[in-house]
């Protein structure tokens, strides 16, 4: 199958790779089909490209790349939408993949929504943006920002200047 996207040009995809979002995403309730895309030069970023709107593409990160000990607490309603048993949380990496949507704005550090991960069921290709209940995570978790890498510490004694 082919789809013309705004950011990637025309992409060729396997229909099996598409994820169905039965409820859309908050703010994008009518967007039901997304395709995850990876590009070698920007790993570990995963792009979630809408197959209904060529210009809609979310930047996401697997939650474990942000928070290694990430824990899910998906509501029964969302587990039902995912076609998963309601009495236990799914296993990340095997049954489901969890992606945090990243917001990059001018003038402040990029943030990731760890409170509401996009949960993709790898077995039946259904997905929801699950707003976790009783979760310690923030919807604006800060990511490493640009422009302050390896700051040269001028006051820690490593500099050549010695105060007398």
């Amino acid at each position: 199958m082919q789809f013309c996207t705004r950011h990637f040009g025309t992409i060729e995809y396997d229909p099996e790779a598409v994820f169905q979002f039965p409820a859309g995403l908050p703010g994008f309730e009518d967007q039901r089909r997304f395709l995850p895309l990876q590009q070698p030069n920007v790993e570990p970023i995963v792009f979630l490209q809408s197959l209904d709107r060529p210009d809609l593409c979310f930047i996401t990160l697997p939650v474990q790349t942000i928070e290694p000990g990430y824990r899910l607490s998906i509501s029964a309603e969302d587990l039902r939408l995912l076609g998963l048993p309601e009495d236990r949380q799914p296993e990340m990496g095997k049954q489901v993949l969890c992606l945090a949507i990243v917001a990059v704005a001018e003038g402040r550090p990029p943030t990731a929504n760890l409170l509401a991960p996009v949960v993709l069921n790898l077995e039946n290709r259904r997905a929801v943006q699950a707003i976790l209940s009783d979760s310690p995570y923030s919807h604006r978790h800060p990511l490493p920002a640009g422009g302050q890498e390896d700051p040269v510490c001028s006051s820690c004694g490593a500099g050549p200047a010695k105060r007398s």
Binding site: H7, F8, G9, T10, I11, E12, Y13, D14, E16, A17, L25, P26, G27, F28, L35, P36, L37, Q38, Q39, N41, V42, E43, P44, I45, V46, Q49, D55, L56, F58, I59, L61, P62, Q64, T65, P68, G93, L97, L99, I101, V102, A103, V104, A105, P110, T111, N113, L115, A116, L122, R125, Q129, I131, D134, H139, R140, L143, P144, A145, G146, E149
Partner: protein
């Protein structure tokens, strides 16, 4: 903000049509029941926050900013990040 003390089993009325019942109180959490007409959406506040962050996240991002973010993430967590996506979509051309 109006502050009202309520016990389990008691309720608060908003206008003629909205009722908020305190069903259960446990340490650190409370269970509420809301009765409201169909045309009044009842949402957890997090849904609104997520909608706002989704709308902000849907803005286009310059390629160099993305590359920079990816580089920093790789530096912080070089061992993690390989995502098992199953049959993958591959862009047929670079953006």
């Amino acid at each position: 903000m109006l502050i009202v003390r309520r016990r389990a089993g008691q309720a608060v009325l908003i206008g003629d049509q909205v009722e908020i019942h305190v069903l259960e109180i446990a340490p650190g959490r409370v269970k509420l029941g809301v009765v409201a007409p169909r045309e009044i959406p009842v949402l957890r506040a997090e849904v609104k926050l997520t909608r706002e962050t989704n709308l902000a996240a849907a803005q286009a991002v310059p390629a160099e900013k993305l590359a920079e973010l990816a580089r920093r993430l790789r530096k912080e967590a070089p061992a993690r990040g390989a995502a098992a996506l199953g049959p993958a979509g591959e862009p047929s051309e670079q953006p």
